[in-house]
């Protein structure tokens, strides 16, 4: 149980490559924080710096108020679960879990008690004397979690722990992880590139891009009020539609190309002619009754998902594709034109040059 304080953390490799910079996050006791971002965004580097596997070149890291920058991984009171499990192949499940405790010099009885408890929690009792190679992927990952749990660390670190598992197992283990977090009440820091995983697990998400933090917030903060175009497009599936345009002459509409314009009904910040990107999530678009919507969509192809249907197409005049998610089973031929509408509070406006969210939230 601990708080974790990342203060302007940064990593520059000897070659001059910067993997992460100016990362500041306050993680409170018992919080489940997910670091998410595309590959190479520096999220794993941050996690490895917290673990002590990577030296910190800038900034300060404290666990429970104590600066730990220069402490060895074993002295930070953390436990880590790796993507490829990193179980010791020659040791049985029990030995794998014991190893860290033995090195800590814990009495045998206490070790045995902790392992029994962890095995019960993770339903590993019958596998304790097997070797890792005799276990399935999901079981191996549970052993890796067991190895972390028995340590009773201040902070649990997870480095894409579910990436090597198949989809069904991933969903199942995700639920187990969430339950585990609730039961232990410990501080979890979790790295993933999968936004669904981030959304479903996190109390708070730290979304990173190119070594910097883009936004920190609850999953719903990120979904409803993305701070930048990057966040908007990263969170949500299928991802948010972006229509590039310019602020119209009346500063209350967006013009696309030469012909079409979309009247928004509220004033836009910024001068007329300023390039902006108008974002709207596929699930927030709906069919306009009587064909009186603001956006026309020329259907190109549809994805039938059962519960809903994603229609892909193009908006005449606007560059770029547009997708809309409609409930239930829908059938449209390619070439059909749908008239779509969207309520104003579901529109997101971004500066096309900087990607920053425009304060059009005066809506």
């Amino acid at each position: 149980m601990a708080t974790l304080h990342l203060n302007a953390l940064g990593k520059t490799y000897p070659g001059g490559v910067t993997a992460a910079s100016e990362v500041s996050v306050e993680i409170s006791d018992g919080e489940f924080v997910v670091l998410v971002g595309p590959s190479g965004c520096g999220k794993s580097t941050i996690l490895r710096m917290i673990a002590g596997l990577e030296t910190i070149t800038e900034g300060e890291l404290s666990i429970d108020g104590a600066r730990v920058n220069d402490r060895e991984p074993g002295e930070r009171d953390i436990a880590m679960v790796f993507q490829n499990y990193a179980l010791y192949p020659h040791m049985s499940v029990r030995k794998n879990m014991e190893y860290g405790l033995k090195n800590e010099g814990l009495p045998k009885a206490q070790i045995a008690a902790r392992i029994a408890e962890a095995a019960r929690t993770l339903r590993l009792e019958e596998y304790l004397d097997r070797k890792p190679r005799q276990l399935s992927g999901g079981q191996r990952q549970r052993v890796a979690m067991g190895r972390a749990i028995v340590r009773q660390p201040k902070v649990f670190l997870f480095d894409e722990p579910l990436s090597n598992l198949d989809a069904k197992l991933r969903t199942q283990l995700r639920a187990e992880l969430k339950a585990l977090h609730r039961r232990l009440g410990a501080t979890f820091v979790y790295v993933t590139h999968d936004q669904v995983e981030a959304m479903s697990l996190a109390d708070r998400i730290v979304i990173m891009n190119a070594g910097r933090v883009e936004q920190i917030g609850t999953p719903m903060d990120l979904y409803l009020r993305p701070a930048s175009r990057f966040v908007a497009e990263f969170i949500g599936s299928p991802s948010m539609n972006m229509l590039e345009g310019r602020i119209g002459a009346d500063r209350a509409s967006v013009t696309f190309g030469q012909a079409s314009a979309l009247s928004l009904g509220f004033d836009l910040p910024g001068p007329a002619g300023h390039p902006i990107a108008l974002g709207v999530r596929p699930e927030h678009l709906h069919l306009a009754p009587g064909g009186a919507g603001g956006i026309d969509l020329a259907v190109q192809f549809i994805e039938q998902l059962g519960a809903d249907t994603v229609v892909h197409g193009a908006v005449p005049g606007a560059a770029g594709p547009l997708a809309v998610r409609l409930a239930g089973v829908q059938r449209y031929e390619a070439g059909a034109v749908l008239s779509l509408a969207c309520s104003a509070e579901n529109l997101h406006l971004f500066d096309a040059e900087t990607g920053v969210r425009l304060a059009a939230d005066a809506v």
Binding site: Y88, P89, E104
Partner: protein, 282 residues
């Protein structure tokens, strides 16, 4: 694949059996010869079946040795060979695995330089550097000692390369997991790396034991005392019996005895070796 070619099967088996017979024949000859007397072996048709002197020949070899060849009992030579082979084997494995550990897991200046220097020793077998090595051993006063017999043969990290390649295949996460589990460098080496290298060590043990056991030139140079003779040298000395009739029955007996330890090592370690190969997984 369905295979139904009886004639080919017979043919391949015939070739196989011929090959086996061809390879085993000299061993058979040695075994048979070691049970005869000297006269039987110097006459024209060499016997192909056991004679009646086996017991006497072997008891004399093991207890008294040959007067003409210094009178050292074979048992003692075998012991010398065994000591030499084992010291060389363990010494080489220990040096190689430790140096590979340093080269793979530690960052120090001229790391690759050291690796290539070690690698170069592969190109310098004992025979090439025999004169300078002999000079060094002489000056250090190591002639006629077990140290002189073994240390110069240990001092080439032949297996470093092999261990290095193996260590490179061990995922970094395992090292990191061990670091988080509070295992320092020594603990990691003993608890994780050594057990994981077990099959490599077994394979090397076989190769190096036979290498050590079969050493001929080097022991011949550094030992002049009979108490340090090895079996391989012993055989050579028996053949060089000067004017007298060559004692083939003793030579063959010694050869048979000298073959036993390597065979035992191969048979014993093969199991571990194969088991390790089948189970290998990281």
């Amino acid at each position: 694949m369905v295979e139904n070619r009886p004639i080919l099967n017979i043919l391949t088996h015939a070739v196989l059996i011929l090959g086996v017979l061809f390879l085993c024949f000299p061993v058979w000859m040695a075994l048979v010869a070691s049970t005869h007397g000297a006269e039987a072996l110097s006459r024209a048709p060499i016997p192909l079946w056991f004679g009646g002197q086996g017991w006497d020949n072997y008891t004399q070899l093991l207890s008294a040795g040959l007067p003409a060849a210094g009178g050292v009992p074979i048992g003692m030579m075998m012991m010398n060979s065994l000591i030499m082979a084992l010291v060389i084997t363990f010494g080489k494995i220990a040096i190689s695995i430790i140096s590979a550990y340093a080269i793979v897991y530690f960052r120090f200046p001229f790391r690759m330089g050291f690796f290539w220097m070690i690698f170069l020793t592969l190109m310098l077998p004992v025979e090439v550097r025999i004169l300078p090595t002999f000079d060094v051993v002489t000056r250090l006063g190591m002639l006629n000692t077990y140290a002189g017999l073994t240390i110069p043969l240990i001092a080439s990290a032949t297996a470093t390369f092999l261990f290095r390649q193996f260590f490179l295949t061990i995922p970094d996460e395992l090292v990191e997991a061990a670091r988080i589990d509070r295992a320092g460098p020594v603990r990691f080496f003993i608890d994780i790396l050594l057990p994981m290298s077990r099959t490599n060590i077994a394979a090397l043990f076989i190769i190096l034991f036979i290498y050590g056991w079969n050493q001929y030139l080097w022991p011949l140079l550094v030992t002049t005392e009979e108490g340090l003779y090895t079996v391989v040298m012993g055989i050579q000395r028996m053949v060089n019996s000067g004017e007298a009739l060559p004692v083939w029955h003793f030579v063959m007996g010694t050869a048979i005895l000298g073959m036993i330890p390597p065979v035992v090592v191969v048979v014993a370690m093969q199991k571990l070796f194969v088991k390790g190969l089948v189970e290998s997984e990281k």
